[in-house]
Symmetry: C2
Subunit: 336 residues, 2 copies
Amino acid sequence: MKNDIIQLSHGAGGRQTQRLVSRIFAAAFENPCLDVLNDASVLPWEQDRLVMTTDTYVVTPLFFPGGDIGRLAVCGTVNDLAVMGAMPVYISTGFILEEGFAIADLEKIASSMRQAADEAGAVIVTGDTKVVPKHKGDGVFINTAGIGRLVSEQTISAEQIRPGDAVILTGSVGNHGLAVISARGEFGLKGPLRSDVAPLSGMVQDLLRAGIRIHAMRDATRGGVATVLNELAETAGVSITVNESAVPLSEAVHSACTILGFDPLYVANEGLLVIVLPAGETENALQILRGHKYGSEAVHAGEVHQEANHCVYLKTAIGSRRMLNMRSGEQLPRIC
Amino acid sequence: MKNDIIQLSHGAGGRQTQRLVSRIFAAAFENPCLDVLNDASVLPWEQDRLVMTTDTYVVTPLFFPGGDIGRLAVCGTVNDLAVMGAMPVYISTGFILEEGFAIADLEKIASSMRQAADEAGAVIVTGDTKVVPKHKGDGVFINTAGIGRLVSEQTISAEQIRPGDAVILTGSVGNHGLAVISARGEFGLKGPLRSDVAPLSGMVQDLLRAGIRIHAMRDATRGGVATVLNELAETAGVSITVNESAVPLSEAVHSACTILGFDPLYVANEGLLVIVLPAGETENALQILRGHKYGSEAVHAGEVHQEANHCVYLKTAIGSRRMLNMRSGEQLPRIC
């Protein structure tokens, strides 16, 4: 690997991203606080704890149905905090602008960021701006880092997952990735494809305030629901079966995936949580989620079980079972 | 401005960067916690406070005498915390890798980051990696965000500056910018040009622990010492005079600046602080600074005075006085 070069697949969020992170970054940065299995780290702070996360956004195009890179950059970081059981408090933002970028577009993006932060109850407190020459960047790249306050004493982490747990999906799959692809105009996709990009911290807070026990929670971004489930299964040492007929899927996403040969379970979402929790909590959780505007399609979609090999299975509508492997290639580059 | 496009000068850290930030970002993000006058924000946290900062690094080349983008990315964020009187605790890091980048180089960069973080007593706790296609990036861009703990009850801020205060420079000027330019090989620069990139949190902590009163403190990065002094003078509503003969300047930087027609006071440093403090504190502060490996060249370089127009002056070696204006153009692109 050391003589190797970076490929697009290293950024796809699948197996190759995992390898790059663990072999290069986890090795170099190794310390008790570094959490490479989660999208945010819970950290000691004075007598208390705080949660820190960061994400960089390189989506193309910058504007797509349902959102833009600004909304994405704030929601992504908000959601990484939320899945750790933390409410977003402070957000920093770093811009890399390409020479020639329209300032009017930058203004629209900044306004989207403000709107998303307001919705999440967070404030943007500090920032930085760099400019690179033409063809050394691509319009604008945005990094956001976030600090969150834990709102529950629960440890929410893949290690908490137990056989018998239920898996909830909080929305229909594949909307974000296909909305971005359709905005590129590459495949002539039509129909009402619209990104689900949204701040989910309010919905998570409702669950935690109601005392719902949650074992693990992840937002299913790069690599989609299937990749997240594989990561959870691997870390927890369990297998997970998803019932295909239970997975919410819009007609537009279904058609687009059929045309493009994509599996919607591997397509990125930006407003969808995978929640693993004790089976007995499922009904209460679903009721709360469905009362929230970003959780109206929430479903009980699968189960955790004990098995020697730690795999994710899809139980198809006709009753057969196939494996949802972790993929290593690049299916949809630059969707976030 | 709204119909305008981004130019390289918007990233130079001078007047145009200031305008972009205040007209677009400060306007969109406006909130009581946003601190656009400083490189970090002091924020309420539970019963206490914390400090947050972020910076993105796009330096080219990635490796230069005295450091690399990794050391720079950690030191820059560490120093932005230090100048607020905070010790760095947690650092996040976001990578944008260009397709084709050598993984061996990434490993070197990650190792530099770890070394700089260790030296500063900080830990890298979370990260993110994105990949962009060839010619949509430039090797690697790195964002770091940092959380710091205040080690002093002092308010360190430009507003604290008073006429009669002294100005200290903690090292010789222009080393970083010229080391990067020489590494580009563009101007055939030779000689021992070496970046001063260093984590200054230890040196700042020594000052604060000794009870030295500090009114304002800044690391003189993009735009150099002259730009920082202009920002401080403007915010504080004072004028500042720097004594040219007191400014530490290496023979190599002096020669290179003469060849290139640069004023070293506008060239970026990455290991140099501008400290404004009550005149009576100067000697004690200098003694402490000079005992530190990154402060051995520290000098009392100027004075703050009251004047109707808030300017920065250079008193030359022959006794004349000229203005050091805030510049708006791009002198040295991509030095950080």
